[in-house]
Assembly symmetry: C2
């Protein structure tokens, strides 16, 4: 649960959410830190602070490449997060209100989206 709270906190900040989204867009290759700071117009210290935050939460990985540090989204962690929310905060696959322990499959005549 601490992990989940940490991941949520990491994303619950506009700058970090934007940075994370950039990294998602960039795919597994990732981006050099500097390019993120450039896109987001952040002074280096601030950028580093936020990237470290995302990193602590396990949402991004980093690797050195030449003189650059490449950051990339850690998809499995996001997968876990979405999984947790779906499992524990939605009672089933689409956040429809269901009876205790009952999955959407068992919902009585509830319209389900594709």
């Amino acid at each position: 649960m601490t992990q989940i709270v940490d991941a949520l906190a990491a994303l619950a900040q506009e700058t970090r959410l934007k940075a994370y989204r950039l990294l998602v867009e960039a795919g597994p290759e990732g981006l050099p830190a500097g390019r993120i700071g450039e896109a987001l117009q952040l002074p280096p210290a601030t950028l580093s602070f936020h990237l470290a935050h995302l990193s602590r939460a396990g949402l991004v990985k980093s690797r050195q490449e030449g003189r650059f540090v490449l950051y990339s989204a850690d998809f499995p962690t996001m997968n876990q997060l979405v999984g947790y929310l779906t499992e524990n905060c939605c009672r089933g696959s689409s956040c429809a209100p269901t009876a205790k322990g009952v999955r959407n499959e068992a919902l009585p005549r509830a319209r389900r989206r594709a």
Copy 2:
């Protein structure tokens, strides 16, 4: 995006996440505030603060019933949140790294969970 950040921030706190989970468990009927405070061992002011936070973020609704205020999870909001994360932070339905704009359906021989 502000809405998303607000929802994330609301859940990014252990007490509130616990409270929210209780409400999810309780289903659409919801729970009186006092019962949540009891379950979580919170002084009234603290409880009220956190419930108000969840409420501002749109994650819970409240209604007066007799002398009680019943709180309940707002499932559509959580649905939106999960939807946003899946759409914008996962590149497809299961957070698998995919090429830009490509959905999981198009992933080359990627193992998919049921």
